[in-house]
Assembly symmetry: C2
Homo-oligomer: 307 residues x 2
């Protein structure tokens, strides 16, 4: 089986897990990690023997060109990072997760990918990502009906970042707790800066657009150690649909998943890094990808095993 050569851009929580997933994929190889020059060589046990570089050009000069670059920087940087790599003739995968901007990002990356004869899969995590595939599949099975995506209990990165941006907040964790019907309450742990008023912070959170629509419970923690105690990586989703196939109702579906969040995001990225090598030039989301492309090995053997 030909080996797929990957490079990893960014070495935060997701990037470390991507290196781990690549090390566990027999048909893939990690050529190296691209990270800030000031960090080179640090946390080397997490690198699992992969060399690290300050740029793709240095990586390519030393290791040869990768088939795909797995983007593991912050979501807000993904569109420009992806465009840069596509412009240099590298295919990319990313887990861009700002839902309402996804169509725009697909259109932008489509242009860059087509121009350079390469491919991109964007929004490739679990939501957006594999949950999106499930939502599409359930609509194909019961076109009339309502799907509820119930997140949690787990830490929401977006909401946590929003609280950390509030004046007087030293650190914060926002947990998403499902309350049914695809709706959620928020449980926020806040470590105030010295001298900051917890009551003022509470009011600012309640007025923030991220929180204004949902039931809210804000709790004060007293130290960084206490914050660490509540900041684990467990997450989950309960995706539910009741609908009709043709005119026959009471078709009932539920998908329940309980996972380590960065590990799953990284694994979906790595499976998509495999898939992207099998796509035609262009930009895609997971609902554009034939599921068999995500798996190692021969298509016909996978059909025999899974269909």
């Amino acid at each position: 089986m030909a080996t797929i050569k990957a490079a990893v851009h960014g070495f935060g929580n997701i990037g470390r897990h991507v290196v781990d997933c690549l090390a566990n994929a027999r048909d893939m190889e990690c050529l190296g990690v691209i990270r800030r020059a000031s960090s080179l060589g640090t946390r080397s046990s997490d690198l699992k023997g992969c060399p690290d570089f300050a740029s793709i050009d240095e990586l390519a000069a030393k290791q040869g060109r990768p088939d795909v670059v797995v983007l593991c920087g912050p979501s807000r940087n993904v569109p420009s990072d992806a465009a840069m790599y596509l412009g240099k003739g590298y295919s990319t995968v990313d887990s861009f997760d700002i839902h309402d901007r996804i169509p725009t990002v697909v259109a932008e990356l489509q242009e860059a990918a087509a121009e350079n004869g390469v491919k991109a899969i964007t929004a490739a995590g679990w939501d957006p990502g594999t949950d999106s595939v499930l939502r599409a599949l359930l609509e194909a099975m019961a076109p009339t009906g309502v799907t509820f995506t119930n997140f949690g209990r787990g830490r929401s990165m977006g909401h946590s970042v929003a609280v950390r941006a509030i004046k007087g907040v030293a650190d914060a964790v926002s947990l998403t707790i499902p309350i049914g019907g695809g709706r959620h309450s928020r449980l926020v742990y806040v470590l105030p800066e010295k001298g900051a008023s917890f009551e003022e912070i509470k009011k600012a959170i309640a007025a923030d657009p991220y929180f204004v629509h949902d039931p809210l419970d804000v709790r004060e923690v007293e130290s960084a150690e206490d914050m660490e105690r509540v900041a684990d990586n467990s997450h989950g989703v309960l995706l539910e649909r009741t609908g009709a196939s043709g005119s026959i109702g009471n078709q009932r579906f539920s998908f329940d998943m309980r996972i380590d969040n960065p590990a799953l995001t990284a694994q979906v990225l790595v499976s998509c890094a495999r898939a992207v090598t099998r796509m035609e030039p262009g930009a895609y989301t997971l609902i554009d990808v034939p599921p068999v492309f995500l798996l190692p090995g021969d298509r016909m053997k996978n059909i025999a095993r899974l269909v």
Copy 2:
């Protein structure tokens, strides 16, 4: 939105539901039903206004050529039916469900489809079919681990037919009951022919290759009316996987579905009839199909809504 023109081959339990699903799909149209000449015009309310014909040639002469023929005859006839339609230049979808023959059928249809520049999706029901997509997706999310497919409680067509073939059996229904770990027990209702020995039938069922591996409970019913009471269309599946993303274990997934069996099979066929018009020439299973192809409407709008 351009209308997809479908014809329905076979008008049994699945065929009737396919006509119903097509009537409920705003982007699709049923040009007609192809069935035995002796049945033409019967059960006309189920036809929902669709004309019926004894052959595709008669249908095409009167209604024009369909974009796709939905095959709703018995599984054993599917490979030859599909080859016949592909040979005449029609794309097909079918719910062929004899798992161990699927790779062979894909290879046969691939040849016929490529030769005639048309497309086929085979094994397009819920298992094989949408369950296959889930099994593929869960492996992409947690490559190491075990998936259990637990069927039921519901009627197994294959097992019911196997019992009906036993000497002395007037009618039979075999229910599949999950006992965990992807294993099943069988509860079989038998109506013996007049004068036949129930004890002999019981022994023959226990020795049948369809039943020899599973816990078995055979019960006698006394009349066709009693048999009707147990022969409903409810079915379901619980698909479970626990595995690892990279080296991180305890990733847990379960998909639970409770459905009317022929209605769901028909709906998947109709969604695949839409998808097949968007594929390149060739033969496919559901794990080869980009999920977005299954849905009506504009790709980018579906991405905005579902991703």
